[in-house]
């Protein structure tokens, strides 16, 4: 008995001794779970680049309170099951302080509860669906949702063009375009903009002239369009062919420079979209980011890289105020408590967190509180509208 107890004490002491150096080790391990292969890989790769760029900058400047940052990067392949596996590995095996990711909202719905259960901060930079941050109080994101962006886009167009009434057109057989329509409809009601007619189309349609002719007959000041590029670009071309030259107000699905290819020339003019970041935004923070990104990766950054770059800086701001104790559970909670107060101005502009509610209306995680940038297309370019 006696020898057993002393053996146990010895083990505990050994374990403590093993932990001690870890506590003083100069590395803060941060998990990154993004889709680096599969269909969402183009987003995941940009996100990873943003993290790497910001981490290098922080470490080159001496780290956080003297501690260097270390990224543990895992590929979650854009799949729910894989995201769950990767989250478990990062949290329980690699013992990271917190986890960034995953890339897609679907995966976040599946994997974020793992982090919440382990009382570990999970920080999404690209999840825009409703309900992610209602999972729990360890769930954060700095990605602006469509529910926030679309009203802002609409208000800007109203202010700039003085539109009085709009026609609405959306794809009614796709989750993304349908939810975009729901957000648009709510924003139109809130801003008391009358709708002349609401028209729908289906994926794979090639001809939209019947709907557009009807829309033209109702004389709207603009068309609100919730579509993916595959249908959205031909809709713009055919609208212009019918002499329907009013502004088109699009959602995130239309936010791509590919629109200039698919609806060339004047057809793509006067398309208004809102997004959290724009390469045309010439603030000093954004210019520094773009320049550094080009220098490191030899390519222009996109919205996803800008958001992950900012996310890492936001996290560092919180880390600066946390005194790491070496007790992982305590440090994870301390970080969670420090994050909501962070305010940061980065590549995507001024940022702070906003408390989100869970389904019962109780405080849960944190969403982004940020003003989107509204741009309009003019001769093959996005021009920022204030």
């Amino acid at each position: 008995m006696n020898s057993k107890r002393s053996f146990g004490t010895l083990l505990a002491a050994l374990a403590a001794a093993a932990l001690l150096p870890a506590a003083h080790a100069a590395d803060i391990k941060l998990g990154v779970a993004e889709a680096l292969s599969g269909g969402a890989a183009q987003y995941g790769a940009s996100i990873r680049n943003g993290f790497q760029l910001a981490t290098d900058q922080i470490n080159a400047a001496g780290g956080v309170n003297g501690n260097k940052l270390m990224l543990v990067i895992e590929d979650e392949q854009g799949k729910k099951e894989e995201a769950i596996n990767v989250f478990k590995k990062l949290i329980f095996q690699d013992k990271v302080l917190m986890v960034f990711g995953p890339t897609l909202s679907n995966s976040a719905q599946a994997a974020d509860p793992i982090a919440q259960g382990a009382k570990t901060v999970v920080f999404g930079t690209s999840n825009t669906a409703d309900g992610i941050t209602s999972i729990g109080d360890y769930v954060f994101r700095n990605s602006v949702t469509e529910a926030d962006v679309l009203p802002e886009t609409l208000a800007t167009v109203k202010r700039r063009t003085g539109l009085k009434k709009v026609a609405v057109m959306y794809g009614n057989d796709d989750v993304f375009t349908k939810s975009g329509y729901d957000n648009f409809r709510k924003a139109l009601e809130d801003q008391k903009i009358p709708v002349t007619t609401t028209e729908t189309f289906a994926k794979g349609d090639v001809d939209f002239k019947a709907q557009l002719t009807k829309i033209k007959g109702t004389n709207p000041d603009a068309i609100v369009l919730s579509a993916l590029l595959a249908e959205g670009a031909p809709i713009m071309v055919q609208a212009r062919q019918l002499g329907l030259n009013v502004p088109v107000i699009g959602g995130n699905g239309m936010n791509s420079v590919k629109v200039f290819e698919l609806a060339p020339g004047a057809a793509s003019n006067d398309l208004w979209i809102g997004s959290p970041w724009s390469i045309e935004n010439k603030t000093p923070e954004n210019s520094r980011f773009i320049e550094a990104y080009r220098a490191k990766f030899g390519a222009a950054p996109d919205q996803f890289a800008a958001q992950s770059y900012d996310a890492l800086h936001i996290l560092v701001e919180a880390l600066k105020t946390v005194k790491l104790s070496g007790d992982l559970a305590a440090d994870r909670t301390a970080l969670r408590n420090a994050l909501p107060a962070v305010k940061w101005t980065g590549a995507t502009g001024a940022f702070q967190f906003r408390q989100a509610k869970d389904r019962a209306g109780k405080p849960a995680g944190y969403d982004a509180q940020q003003t989107p940038i509204v741009s309009v297309t003019r001769d093959g370019k996005y021009v920022i509208e204030k």
Partner: protein, 293 residues
């Protein structure tokens, strides 16, 4: 606005008819519902993209590339798949299922080579000005589609009804065995038919790609569903039926958008189609053309 909707309906109807012509031809002669026709249609559009966009050839060369590639796809489908099924006397549903496989292979190959993103023909491949006639807006490509679909229908009807070759084709459609006994080279007839149908599909792919400004691997999928409806409505295997069925579907869709609402578009269009088939289960021209083709 009503006049404009009529123009819209006419051009949409001709789009459907153009697709349905090749589709119905194969059924008429071979008795096979070729579910790869949508994929052949898509391959034609990509062939023209390669010619016009990559090789910087003029548009007529793109059309020829689409015609040849589509025709080749049709012949290869017949040679590699349908012919061996015929030789083994496969029951008639088997060839149809096999063509689903052909469609999957073509779709995935194109997606593998070109990616899943939308492509379009370079600007200015066809005159892109909009003609305004008495307040109506109509594009050059729409006029082209309307003209071509009627012209092709007339040519096909003439070949079928007015030439010795067409007589042989109709004999094959009636009974391949009897035709062979009469000294007709049945396999050659099948080859010519699948080539012609594939070529028609390929050309239709280019025109509709130009019309909608969108070329993508699954572009034939929704067209195929509409095409099946069109040839059932028109009477399986009948060329005039394909034309009239296409026009009917075009007008039904456009007018239901104009008067009922776009959410109800397919419900109204296909509801009408169902009602017509209740009255004429054989399709519009089903009775007149007892022998298919």
């Amino acid at each position: 606005m009503l006049e404009q909707q009529f123009v819209n309906a006419l051009s949409l109807g001709c789009v459907y008819a153009l697709f349905a012509l090749g589709f119905t031809l194969i059924f008429g002669v071979l008795g096979v519902i070729n579910l790869a026709h949508g994929a052949v249609f898509m391959v034609g559009a990509y062939a023209a993209i390669v010619a016009v966009d990559w090789l910087a050839l003029p548009m007529w060369a793109g059309l020829i590339a689409a015609l040849l590639t589509g025709g080749l796809c049709g012949v290869l489908t017949d040679r590699l798949v349908l012919q061996s099924l015929r030789r083994r006397g496969a029951p008639h549903l088997i060839p149809m299922i096999a063509t689903i496989g052909v469609a999957i292979i073509l779709n995935n190959s194109v997606q593998g080579i070109f990616g899943a993103a939308n492509l379009r023909f370079p600007q200015g491949s066809v005159p892109d000005e909009v003609l305004q006639l008495a307040g109506l807006h109509v594009t050059v490509i729409e006029l082209g589609i309307i003209f071509l679909s009627f012209a092709l229908m007339l040519v096909l009807i003439y070949v079928m009804r007015g030439t010795q070759f067409g007589r042989a084709l109709r004999a094959v459609a009636e009974s391949p065995k009897a035709a062979a006994l009469l000294g007709i080279d049945v396999e050659r007839m099948f080859r010519v038919t699948t080539f012609a149908a594939g070529a028609l599909g390929g050309v239709a792919g280019v025109l509709i790609g130009l019309y909608s400004n969108a070329v993508f691997p699954l572009m034939g999928q929704s067209m195929l569903h509409k095409g099946i409806a069109v040839i059932i409505l028109g009477g399986m295997g009948d060329i005039r039926g394909a034309m009239l069925g296409g026009l009917f579907l075009g007008f039904a869709e456009v007018l239901s958008v104009a008067y009922v609402g776009s959410t109800m578009r397919d419900a109204v269009a296909f509801g009408l189609l169902f009602l017509i088939l209740l009255v004429r289960p054989q399709g519009l021209f089903g009775k007149v053309v007892q022998r298919k083709a």
